[in-house]
């Protein structure tokens, strides 16, 4: 097995981690969607290592992309894992985004104020 830098792969293929699924059970997950673990609920005993790590990471609020970066997994794959953990009641979506919906004007105005304070 090659261990060279030119070839990197996860020891477990992506489709195994997601039980063969390429798409999450919900389509409102974006890279910037904020996630947080449900208090006092550790990952289920049947959880994979990745799911366990994911729940542990989300003890505080993080965006999906941050979770993916820390787990060194693609965003698309983490979206599938997150979706399952939301379905099983272990994770909460802190910021809910509807597909194709833009932020409201007052949010943008607050962003502008924040940037002007830099």
């Amino acid at each position: 097995m090659s261990q060279g830098d030119e070839y990197r792969d996860h020891p477990v293929r992506s489709y195994v981690l997601t039980s063969g699924r390429a798409h999450p059970t919900r389509n409102t997950l974006r890279p910037e969607t904020l996630l947080v673990a449900v208090d006092g609920r550790p990952a289920p005993s049947t959880a994979t290592r990745q799911q366990r790590d994911l729940v542990r990471l989300c003890r505080g609020t993080l965006a999906l992309a941050e979770v993916a970066a820390y787990l060194a997994l693609p965003v698309s794959l983490v979206a599938v894992l997150v979706s399952d953990l939301v379905d099983s009641g272990h994770l909460t979506i802190r910021s809910n985004h509807q597909a194709h919906v833009l932020p409201e004007r007052d949010i943008l105005e607050k962003v502008l104020d924040g940037l002007r304070n830099i």
């Binding site: 505080g60 970066a69 597909a99 962003v111 924040g114």
Partner: protein, 194 residues
Amino acid sequence: MPGQHLAPSVARSVKILVVGAFGVGKTTLIGSVSEIEPLRTEEQITTASVGVDPGLPEKQTTTVALDFGRLTISQEIALYMFGTPGQRRFWDLWAGLADGAVGALVMVDTRNIEASFEVLDQLELRTKMPFAVVINQFPDSPQYPVERIRAALDLLPGTPIVRCDARNRTSSAQALIQLVEHALTFPAFQKAPA
């Protein structure tokens, strides 16, 4: 990585894309504004191979890196900045990323202005999102007047062009301010009738 969590009061996230050719300074700009060290995720995409080589399969997988940073704007809002190459072959990845974005900063290096054409074409062709052009000033960048750059890039009169030193926090923030101000003039961000 612990300690990098957002404050518990943050419940909204807003996204801005930073696009441009390789080496134009996307990650530098994101890093100068971000409150965390820029992070990276990688995505595998399948692309139609460009060259005509009978020895190669018609499709290839490519790894595309997504560098991003974060800035807590207020007690409730976090801004995420995602840097990605905007070329055609990355569009599959990019289209999903564009969904819900406030807008895009298009970074341009005046030493290699042609590299921006494809990014701008894709942005105009595939999205309606507001964008501002950021001229990242390198020490040996030629000093073209803004109107010459506007003409060279074939930009509409309203599209902001901002000169910036991506290494400088205030300068990078200024580019983001120009983009958000521009976005606020778009119909999509007008107040809904009561």
